[in-house]
Amino acid sequence: MKLTKTILLLFVLVVGAVSWIKSGDKKYKTHLLQFTIPQGWPQPVYDFKQNPVTQEGFDLGRKLFYDGRLSKDENFPCASCHQQYAAFATYDHNLSHGFNNSFTKRNAPPLFNLAWQKEFMWDGGVNHLDLQPLAPMTDSNEMGENLDSILLKLKADTAYRRMFKAAFGDDNITTQRMTRALSQFIVMMVSANSKYDRVMRGEDSFNLPQRLGYDIFKRKCESCHTEPLFTDFSYRNAGLMIDDYLKDVGRMKITHDANDSLKFKVPSLRNAQVTFPYGHDGRFYSLLQVMDHYRRDVVSGPTTDSLLKHGIPLSNFEIGQLMAFIYTLTDSSFLNDPRFAPPGYENRTQQKPLEHQHIYKQ
């Protein structure tokens, strides 16, 4: 009897000790989010094993993305240049505005389908999504802040300490955790539900101009703007005359190779309807200007892409059909997805944003 009691007592003690030791981890329970690869798409390149997306990490990333305190004067959150209604580009701006009334040197790219992207920036200078936010954060003409001071601001905020703990297990706030949380938010921005996608899935059909446009696209654009991402992620000189103020040599700045002079990453055509102006320095204010460039103004230099040596012959008729097709790449469900709106947006209004509602009625 005594023996049984002793064993029982010891057992209770051990179980108690184990659960006490484990109790530190008890509150750290994350909820994995499913990342769905759209039907027929390639495998993403982002390493989800290293940074699994959780609801807690996603929520933290979303708060960071919309928080002006990540910039020096607290006026420039990531979202100031990456606006959801512009597919996370800067709406109607050739160059974006940064700290101290400065301009950026290039057109802000839209953010979507970044899980499939290996290199970032127009020149591909950044080699990992988790490192990408550091560039705008520290650049003097963007957010103008330094990392130490961003971390200090976050550490001083109890809400952040709570959210870092929920996402990563303790309230240690580091650069790594900050940018991984941002990645968790950004990597979930998948745009794959445009009319084009619905047609490909057999749920919808093109009208005549869209179908003719798709045929022209496949003959004249597809080799660089490859489906389904509508870019092959290569760097090419599209024959744009160098801007004599910006003097931007593009990819050559990173590789120091003269063969890369004036080359820039091929941008995706998805959501192009809302990402105007176009081009690495936003010099084209409309799709029509882009088309005119390709049929009329391509500069043939030593690094101009071999596919563009003589421009792209396009008739007015073809341009009309191409535009009709490009508009089918607008993904209104992505542009209005409440998950990517500012935190708390769901509670403020049940209405869709007023701007750009016309996108629904294409």
């Binding site: 023996l3 002793t6 064993i7 010891l10 057992f11 051990v14 000790a17 184990v18 030791i21 390493d47 290293q50 920036m121 200078g125 950044v126 080699n127 990992h128 999504l129 988790d130 490192l131 550091l134 560039a135 954060m137 520290t138 650049d139 330094n146 990392l147 130490d148 971390l151 580091t174 650069t175 790594q176 955790r177 940018t179 991984r180 700045k253 990173i254 120091h256």
Partner: protein, 258 residues
């Protein structure tokens, strides 16, 4: 360690079921001895980096002169040390995934302490800089946290070493010169493998200390000649960075080993 502890605790319970409570104390004491024993077993090697300008200790407020006769002061001197390997006559011991940022302004950073199981150490090898793997593996933390300021955000990559200061010869605002040396890609590599033979074999059973000198004068004149007057700054990977890296690969020597 905790898991280990729990495991032993649980196996204790199983034992107790058979052997009754009296043996518990015995196993618990054994366990404690094991824990203490683990700690006693660890012998340590300390590496001490001593930054110098020629034969003088490098200090922020002193004037120095390079072989080309240019005088200068040094405001900031930092470099990464990684991939350390110790050699004894037969074995090696490696320290993968350990990165250290040596900062001339922070004396604690100049001491690296490592556990070793080697009895006699004859040589040390390390990488001055950060291997290319860590340059392509996304965001890092600890010594490799980009917030340490040894990282290029616009053209991904670590600054392997930084030397900054002022010199009347520098044709720049405030007569400042600054060398930020990095680059990991083919033809732009700046991380340098350094092998230093110890003057004599050292016995590390009772801990040992290797003091390594880093002479900044070698930055200006060893494999190549670098004039502050004509080359006051380097802020990106490329040709100049690799030339500076050739130079700094010659800056280390063993001062003492005991």
């Amino acid at each position: 360690m905790r898991l280990h502890y729990i495991f032993i605790q649980l196996s204790n319970v199983a034992m107790i079921k058979r052997e009754v409570g009296k043996d518990f104390t015995f196993y618990f004491i054994c366990f404690l001895l094991l824990m203490i024993g683990n700690n006693i077993n660890a012998q340590k090697i300390s590496i001490h980096f001593q930054n110098k300008a020629g034969d003088k200790i490098l200090q922020a407020d002193s004037n120095y002169q390079n072989a080309l006769g240019e005088t200068f002061t040094v405001r900031n001197f930092k470099y990464y040390i990684s991939n350390i390997v110790f050699y004894d006559s037969v074995k090696t011991q490696t320290y993968p995934d350990q990165y250290f940022l040596i900062d001339n302004a922070d004396s604690a950073s100049q001491q690296i302490e490592l556990n070793t199981s080697l009895k006699n150490v004859t040589a040390i090898k390390f990488l001055l800089g950060v291997d290319s793997f860590k340059n392509v593996s996304g965001i890092q933390t600890g010594a490799l946290d980009p917030a340490k300021g040894m990282f290029w955000t616009w053209n991904t990559g670590y600054v392997m070493a930084k030397l900054e200061g002022n010199s009347p010869s520098a044709n720049m605002p405030q007569h400042a010169f600054s060398y930020h040396v990095g680059g990991y890609k083919q033809n732009e590599k700046t991380a340098k493998e350094i092998i230093l033979q110890l003057p004599q074999k050292i016995n590390c059973t009772n801990n040992c200390v290797i003091t390594i000198q880093a002479d900044i004068l070698k930055w200006f004149n060893s494999a190549h000649e670098i004039k502050i007057a004509t080359t006051p700054f380097c802020h990106e990977p490329g040709k100049l960075a690799t030339i500076l890296a050739d130079n700094y690969s010659n800056m280390f020597s063993i001062e003492s080993a005991k």
